[in-house]
């Protein structure tokens, strides 16, 4: 399975079971995973070798996760880091992100959630900062003008509310990726609690109704148990 251009992921995780789970899940998605259980070794490996992304446990023997990410960033290594922690407090999340982590996931997590988040990070790494994306987004026949704040599907203008616009913008920026409800709630509404209800589903339904035009293929797919994907079927 291991090919020369396989995407390599570094997992720094001291809990054996969690590490195995991450490796199995990412392996199933075609990534090559290196697992390190010690903080100091992990930092060394992250500095020496090139990885597409790192999953990093917050609490580690040897060197703390926060320290690792701080030192990585200080050394100029911009590899995306997904922090994984048993500490779910908002304060911890803020601290993790401030230290240089790119996303924060609380233990225990659903592995598909972890993969979805990691893939968004990988994708962001590839496609960020293209000046084009500051003005115009395009997925299939769906285009969004960020300056005029207008959306068109196959040349036809769509009238979206501001929430729907933000939701669609997030999905277009991450098209083709599985986006979980939590990820959407965090990114679009910027809140980090569990909404417990089908809030996101309802918003998604509204958006779907507007961008699904008669005669054109549906653009938003539901992944049962995971989330949503925007893209041409």
């Amino acid at each position: 399975m291991q090919t020369a251009n396989a995407i390599r992921i570094l997992t720094i995780e001291d809990d054996q079971t969690t590490a195995e789970e991450i490796a199995a899940e990412l392996g199933a998605h075609g990534y090559v995973v290196d697992v390190v259980s010690d903080g100091r070794l992990g930092l060394e490996k992250a500095c020496r070798e090139v990885y597409a992304a790192i999953t990093l446990d917050r609490m580690l023997p040897g060197l703390d996760g926060l320290n690792i990410v701080t030192q990585l960033r200080a050394a100029g290594i911009q590899t995306p880091v997904l922090m994984i922690s048993a500490l779910s407090d908002v304060d911890e999340r803020v601290r993790g992100l401030r230290a240089g982590g790119d996303d924060y996931l609380t233990k225990p997590f659903a592995t598909d959630e972890m993969t979805a988040r990691l893939e968004v990070l990988l994708r962001r790494q590839k496609s960020t900062q293209s000046p084009e994306m500051m003005v115009r987004l395009q997925v299939g026949d769906l285009t969004m003008n960020l300056i005029e704040r207008s959306v068109q599907r196959a040349g036809q203008s769509l009238d979206l509310k501001s929430t729907e616009f933000r939701l669609l913008e997030y999905m277009m920026r991450n098209s083709g990726q599985v986006l979980t409800r939590t990820m959407i709630f965090e990114a679009v509404w910027n809140y980090h609690f569990d909404p417990y209800t089908n809030l996101i589903e309802v918003h998604m339904m509204g958006l779907r109704k507007k961008i699904n035009l008669p005669g054109l293929p549906a653009m938003i797919r539901t992944i049962r148990g995971s989330g949503y994907v925007l893209g041409e079927a």
């Binding site: 789970e21 659903a110 569990d194 309802v202």
Partner: protein, 463 residues
Amino acid sequence: MTNSLRERWRISTFRLAMLFGVLFTLGNVALLSLIYWQTSSYLVHRIDDSIETMASNFTNLAPAKVAEDVHDALIYDLRRSNLYGLFQSDGTPIVGNMKALPAGVPADGRIHQFAQFSIPPFPSASSQAVQGLARARVQRLSNGNILVIGRDFTQLAEIRSIILNALIVSGAVILFFGLLGGFALSLSPLKRISVIRTTSDRIMQGELSLRLPISGRHDELDMLSTIVNTMLEEIERLLTEVKSVTDTVAHDLRTPLTRLRLMLYRVQQQLPADQSEHQLLDNALDETDTLLARFRALLRISEIENRQRKSGFRIVTPETVLRQLFELFEPLAEDAGVNLSLECTSTATILADPDLLFEALSNLVDNAIKFTPAGGSVRICLAQVDAPLKECVRIDIIDTGCGIPVSERAAVLLRFHRGQPAPSGKEGYGLGLSIVAAVMRLHGFHLLFQDAAIGTHLTIECS
């Protein structure tokens, strides 16, 4: 000021000290009155005694001899403090140092007090007789003449009034210092009590590691504080134990549950969608999700309760939070056929953790929408409350749903504190409200159930 006085009055030390002050003053007033009364009656008795003695010289004398004796007595009275007067029965003076019969004094042979020009003790050309007091015995002689024998009382009355004044002044001084001293004495224990009170308030707000101050004087306040501190230590230990057990249980169960969910999901994915097992697994997945959500909520509650942190507190405009909330829930309400509306009449700001406030409010709005049948309405209102001292804002959430019976409201509120899950019939009620309650407690806001004809009317008072 009146407020703080009223507050002080409620404190027993203060009351005791003041009571002591009052008793002390009353005792002093009684003592002083006794002194005055004794002195005054002593003075009167002395005078009356000497009048009686003087009068006894005149008893059984022939009326002609009386005039002679009165004359003699005046000559021998070197101090000139005695009054002698012999009058005819019509009041014309015969002999003596009195110009007229004292007005209104009956000639009954008893001693009476009356106004009389006093005789200055050291007569001189300029000294005029002044209006004074005298005590005298007036008696009718056998020939109808009237004999007055008395003594000037002016100086003694003056002495008496000097004593009275002295007593009143010293009484007032004692009263003033007694009350002031009582007040001052009660202040120092009050200061300690107020320290104890602020500390207790903070402990009640969750800073369980705090202890009451101990002065080292081994007095009753110290004794009580020591007892309370021991109690606090025990409570803290038990709470941490319980909390860590709950947290560990919730946390440890979540990991296998998450794995179970994943396995169910994988199995389900491998089955064709039309198989009956697929549906079964779907249900199993839903149940697992519910369980996971419950555990997340449980952990979330203890997380909110655990944090003494007010680091997330900022100046928040409730209007902004409510507009976001409205935007978030509008599609849900629309989907449920419920008319969601927002009325803001205040742009005031409050100190709050915006994330937690949003979370709490979204739980309440979510419940309101959930329990309101299609065609009903949910109103969110923000209004300014006229509070005398501080800015106060109230948020009302009014729905036309099934409502909470009055008898159950207390139970729902009680459940907040216990953080117990709701009975299965009312899914999503108990824990959601427990989160709300935890957030309210952290903020010091009040959650109230209002009486409503239909549905539920909840009020949050932010102050």
